[in-house]
Symmetry: C2
Subunit: 155 residues, 2 copies
C-alpha cells in the first residue's frame, strides 16, 4: 500500500514549491504525514547540503525543512480541525508569515533527519506550528512558524 | 579589477557551505561585501526556486540567503571591529544560533534580490545581524540572526 502524504493533496497550481512541491523535479520534495497528533517528515540531506562547519548540515536547509513541513502541517491541520479528512477537499495552502529557528547544536550529515510538527494554535486563517529536527533521537534544532492561509486556496 | 568578496576569505575548510561556500559547486555561492556601514549581497533566484504560491520565491531560499549573508557579515564585522582588514587574518567563521525571518510580502521570481545586512551588536564571539531582502526597491522580508564564532576559527 502506498501511503499518501499531505503534499500529494496540494492542488497542482500550488505544488511547485522547491521545498515541498511534488511537481518540482529539482526540489527537495519533502513528505509529511500524521503520526497521532503530531506530523512527521523524514529527510536525508544530500552530500552538497553541507554547512560552513565540515560534516554538518547548512542552516538554510534546516530552516527550509522546518518551513515547508510546517506549511504542510498547517494545511492538514486546518482540515482536521474542521472534522474533514484529506480526501474531502482540496488541501488549503498556507504560506509563512514568520519563521523562527533555534539551532541548538550542529545537525550531522549522513543521517535521516526527523521533523515533528505540533500545532500550537489555530485561529481562522492563521495557524502556528512548532517543529523539532532530530537525528538519531538527538534534537538539533527547534522552529516555530506562523502560517497564513492563501486567500486563493480553499474556503 | 575583480572585487574580492567576504566569502573569498573563508579558509578552505570552512568554504563548502551550500549557501555561501565558494568551493561548493552545487551551492548558491552567494557573495557579500561592504557598502559603507552595511553589507550587501545580490542574488537572482533560479527558476526552480519557486514557492507554493506561483511566481514567488520559496521561503526557505529567503531564509537561507539571510542566514548565509548574516554569517558573512558577522565574519567581516568581527575583523572590522578590531580595526583589521580582510587581508590581515583568515576570516573567522560564524554559525547561526538563531534565525528569525518575517515574510512581509511575497518575493517575486525573476528579479535580482538585494540583501542588506546591518550589525546590531558585537559582543565577544556573538554578533547579531539584521538583514532586509528587497526586489526593485520593495522590501519583502526582514531577518535577524544571532551568530556565534566557531571556536576552531580565528583567534
Amino acid at each position: 500500500m502506498t501511503v499518501r502524504v499531505f503534499q500529494d493533496y496540494y492542488p497542482d497550481e500550488f505544488a511547485h514549491c522547491y521545498g515541498c512541491g511534488r511537481l518540482n523535479k529539482e526540489g527537495l520534495q519533502i513528505k509529511s504525514h500524521w503520526d497521532g497528533k503530531e506530523s512527521i517528515c523524514h529527510y536525508t540531506p544530500m552530500p552538497h547540503h553541507t554547512g560552513g562547519f565540515p560534516g554538518y548540515v547548512y542552516g538554510g536547509l534546516i530552516a527550509s525543512l522546518i518551513d515547508c513541513h510546517a506549511a504542510a502541517t498547517a494545511s492538514a491541520a486546518k482540515l482536521r480541525d474542521e472534522g474533514l479528512s484529506l480526501e474531502d477537499l482540496p488541501l488549503p495552502r498556507f504560506v509563512s508569515a514568520s519563521l523562527k529557528v533555534d539551532f541548538l547544536k550542529p545537525t550531522p550529515m549522513g543521517k535521516v533527519l526527523e521533523l515533528r510538527g505540533m500545532v500550537k494554535e489555530i485561529k481562522n486563517r492563521k495557524i502556528i506550528v512548532s517543529v523539532t529536527v532530530s537525528a538519531e533521537g538527538q534534537i538539533s534544532a527547534k522552529g516555530e512558524v506562523v502560517m497564513v492561509q492563501l486567500p486563493e486556496s480553499g474556503k
